[in-house]
């Protein structure tokens, strides 16, 4: 880092690439370990990974499906990353996502009924998506407020909110919001009105404009964090709440805002899934997104662009995994194991550095400040 006689563009290139080295190696190592696990239960790792890659990128349909899978991951990953920047651990993305989906679905199928007539799409879609966003934001603001005013640690509170959300949505989807169609036996809402549906980008492929929105939102989040006064305040509270207070920043208000924005992003994930993909909300679709989002946020080093890349990777793995299971009978859960290993190696980058003898020194994400007694 002290070499000042390096040509400028090499230095810039290095600055760009250095943060990528460890995550890349983490992925490679995890993939190798995953292959060993597959081998140990009698499978063929090469066939498995071939199936995986084919399923993820091998055709127009595959790419489209990868984008479809990646979209909620981008939103949820941004949600967790944003909270991280504010010094908060939002494990509640799952519950916030669920409420976003429920709210969007409700507006989607019930609003025309309540009003008695149809609503044009350019009002209905923003309304459904917007209210989904708000629902998620509110659901996250509650543990945010608890942390700000009572010091209650957001880790356990957001986890509890997840279970509460699960119970409430189960109740709703088995009860008042259940699809009354006599052919329906599962816990799901009725289909949303056509005016609330976001169109696919290409005919015949499922990839939809929500994917584009996700990329734009990532850019927006980066801009907010790096270029605005709000972003400065959020990052300062995240790095050193004592100095933030000294600097005149209202720490409590900032905590709540950080959580609210984080929740809105998660709610957006759910709302987009409802309005652009499934056109309804079904119980059980969102399971596991919360923890995946954490892995994605960390893999992307809480940087919005990194999150996008990580989300696409995870989306590719989930998408390709179903094809892998179809072709080779290897359970798709191995993907979870590999993702957990990736997370393990990214989090404990010291392991990677030790294995590959890298001397890179980076900023560590440190969030644990005890339980705030």
């Amino acid at each position: 880092m002290q070499s000042s006689n390096e040509p400028g563009f090499i230095k810039n290139l290095r600055q760009w690439l250095e943060p990528l080295i460890v995550p890349l190696l983490a992925i490679i190592t995890a993939v190798i370990l995953g292959g060993l696990i597959i081998k140990s239960v009698g499978g063929d790792p090469f066939a498995a990974y071939r199936g995986l890659v084919q399923g993820a990128f091998g055709s127009k349909k595959a790419l489209s499906e990868t984008a479809v899978w990646a979209t909620p991951y981008i939103f949820a990953g941004l949600a967790v990353a944003f909270a991280f920047k504010g010094g908060l651990f939002n494990i509640g993305a799952e519950g916030q996502l669920a409420f976003g989906a429920v709210a969007a679905a409700l507006i989607g199928y019930a609003l025309p009924k309540w009003l008695g007539h149809d609503i044009p799409a350019f009002i209905h879609i923003p309304l459904a998506v917007g209210l989904g966003m708000l629902a998620g934001g509110l659901w996250a603001a509650i543990p945010g407020a608890l942390k700000a005013y009572t010091g209650g640690h957001e880790v356990i509170n957001t986890i509890m909110m997840n279970y509460i959300a699960l119970n409430i949505t189960s109740f709703l989807l088995n009860g008042p919001m259940k699809d009354p169609n006599p052919l329906n036996v599962v816990a799901r809402t009725p289909a949303i009105a056509k005016s609330a549906r976001i169109a696919p980008i290409f005919d015949g492929l499922r990839v939809h404009w929500g994917f584009v929105l996700a990329l734009l939102v990532a850019l927006l989040i980066w801009w907010i964090l790096q270029k605005t006064t709000l972003g400065f305040e959020i990052r300062t509270v995240g790095s050193n709440p004592d100095a933030a207070k000294y600097a005149g920043i209202n720490v409590q208000r900032t905590i709540i805002i950080s959580m609210a924005i984080s929740g809105m992003l998660a709610g957006l994930a759910g709302a987009i899934e409802v309005t652009a993909l499934n056109y309804r909300h079904e119980l059980g679709f969102a399971v596991g997104y919360g923890f995946d989002a954490i892995a994605i946020a960390l893999l992307g080093k809480t940087n919005p662009f990194g999150v996008v890349l990580a989300a696409i990777l995870f989306g590719a793995m989930r998408n390709g995994g179903t094809r892998m299971q179809f072709l080779t009978q290897i359970p798709v859960d191995i993907i979870s194991v590999i993702q957990a290993l990736i997370l393990l190696f990214v989090a404990a980058d010291a392991i990677i550095r030790f294995i590959y003898r890298i001397r890179v020194r980076e900023e560590r994400v440190v969030l644990t400040r005890g339980w705030g007694g």
């Binding site: 270029k227 709000l230 790095s239 050193n240 004592d242 100095a243 207070k245 000294y246 600097a247 005149g248």
Partner: protein, 521 residues
């Protein structure tokens, strides 16, 4: 143990030969030679960062030296951990106490030595604790050496001077006959320091040899039998206190002639800027820390608040800067009532604050120097248009301030964590003093800094005062108060017990007031 009435015997009980210790980027000890005679009080003198504590940590087994050896009574010691040092009779009282606040005195003393320390083998984990037996031994020891401690007291509730005594008893409980004291008087009033010196002389009479680390010149001349001076990791020489003086020692410490007091013109105070009326503030635990404090500071004067740490100064500074709620009373700045207001409006009224804990309150270490310099002002129109931060303005500001305040940093984009303590403080000073201000509150502004930085900051504070700014200086270093203040107020147990003009103040009198000895006239 043979009693020794003469304080210098020629038996060397502890010796460090050629000790070298490196940390990333820093050579903390460079081929250091040091020895301790039986029954002597040997002072190790040097400014902050000279390598004194590192050397002691090596002698105590906390660090392993890169090269060199340590000898006890002529035998080379293998020191892998403090357990070995303790086994050889070395005890250490650290500058920041190594006591568990929630444990009792007895539990603190017995920790790690739950049975006789000499039997290393008896380490069975599930042995039942025998608190009564240890408490009895503690009481016996404290009587023997005149160190009164209550075995059942919770250490966190004890005053600092008593905690220090617990630390000493802890060492004696482990049969220490070599005692290392690291900056022991940093937290004591002058009277308590005298008390400590008395205890030290008692201990040496009973055959204990003492190493005494400090940066305070007056103390060394008062108590030491021999003085070794360290600078930048090396031993620069030894001195005999009877043949030396402050100026000579200071120049050995720093390597050049040091002006021991700040040159300043007499003060020309004008209108009242800060007025504090009957302020009551509670501390973190809900106890009253500021107990009815009233004072004023005028433009163009420095009011120094003297007092040992822990008498409410921290809470007072926090209350006046909006970081702590005020229970009752009020304060005004140029007539504006700022009681209970949050930091931002207070700063906008013309307050600058150099905080006590620079790394916790004053800086965000992971931010660049440039960002730290706009930490309090980023939202102002000159740095942001609406909600968008104008990075080029921020950078220009940083470059200007780095030059003006001579902050040693390779660039404005370096993270603040990479700067030395002195330069970190300069960043804070640059930020605070470059605003238009009427009042400067400086809390322990030179704690932990090297002499060069101390001189610089003292110069800046006096310059501020000469420009007509009111300065409230809070410091536990009596020398700093005496050197800078125009008026001095002494704080004890949350109250101002006395206020005097500088010319009427003496060290001794201030010391008495700081210790709570107050004669009503």
């Amino acid at each position: 143990m043979a009693e020794n009435t003469s304080s210098s015997s020629n038996t060397i009980v502890l010796e460090a030969k050629g000790i070298t210790k490196k940390f990333p980027g820093v050579l903390a000890n460079d081929n250091v030679e040091f020895n301790l005679h039986h029954g002597e009080i040997h002072a190790l003198l040097g400014e902050n960062g000279a390598g004194k504590t590192t050397l002691m940590n090596v002698l105590y087994g906390l660090y392993k030296a890169d090269s060199g050896e340590v000898l006890v009574n002529g035998n080379v010691m293998v020191l892998n951990s403090p357990k070995d040092a303790i086994h050889h009779g070395i005890g250490m009282v650290h500058q920041h106490f190594m006591l568990i606040p929630v444990f009792t005195v007895t539990e603190n003393i017995m920790l790690g030595a739950e049975t006789d320390h000499r039997s290393h083998s008896n380490e069975a984990p599930l042995v039942k604790l025998d608190r009564k037996e240890v408490a009895q031994k503690v009481t016996d020891l404290s009587h023997q050496y005149g160190l009164d401690v209550d075995p059942e007291a919770i250490v966190g509730d004890l005053p600092v001077g008593v905690q220090q005594r617990v630390e000493i008893v802890k060492a004696l409980y482990r049969h220490a006959n070599i005692l290392i004291l690291d900056e022991p008087t940093a937290v004591l009033t002058p009277q308590e320091a005298e008390d400590l010196f008395r205890i030290m002389r008692e201990l040496t009479k009973k055959g204990v040899s003492i190493i005494f680390i400090t940066h305070k010149l007056k103390e060394v001349l008062a108590i030491a039998d021999r003085i070794t001076v360290m600078r930048a990791g090396r031993v620069v020489g030894t001195a005999n206190p009877k043949e030396s003086n402050e100026a000579q020692l200071a120049s050995m410490m720093v390597g050049r002639a040091v002006i021991l007091t700040v040159q300043k013109k007499p003060a020309q105070p004008t209108e009242e800027i800060l007025k504090v009326e009957d302020l009551h503030v509670r501390d973190i635990r809900g106890l009253e820390a500021v107990n009815g404090v009233s004072f004023h500071v005028r433009a163009g004067e420095i009011l120094g608040i003297a007092g040992v740490q822990g008498n409410g100064q921290t809470e007072l500074a926090e209350a006046l800067t909006g970081l702590r709620p005020i229970e009752s009373g009020r304060f005004t700045l140029s007539g504006n009532d700022l009681t209970g207001k949050p930091p931002r409006p207070i700063t906008a009224t013309g307050l600058a604050h150099i905080p006590e804990d620079r790394q916790r309150h004053g800086l965000v270490l992971s931010y660049t120097v440039a960002d730290n310099m706009v930490l309090c002002d980023y939202y102002q129109p000159r740095f942001s248009k609406g909600a968008v931060i104008q990075q080029n303005q921020v950078d220009a500001n940083a470059r200007k301030l780095i030059k003006a305040y001579d902050v040693r940093t390779p660039s404005p984009y370096v993270s603040a964590s990479k700067l030395t303590g002195g330069n970190q403080q300069k960043v804070i000073v640059a930020r605070e003093l470059s605003r238009t201000i009427r009042l400067l509150i400086a809390s322990q502004p030179t704690r932990g800094l090297d002499v060069g930085s101390i001189e610089y900051i003292h110069k800046e504070i006096v310059a501020m005062r000469d420009r007509g700014i009111a300065v409230l200086l809070i410091s536990a270093e009596l020398d700093e108060i005496l050197s800078l203040s125009d008026r001095i107020a002494v704080m004890y147990r949350g109250q101002i017990v006395e206020t005097v003009n500088r010319k009427d103040a003496t060290r001794e009198q201030l010391g008495l007031w700081m210790a709570g000895v107050h004669e009503t006239t």
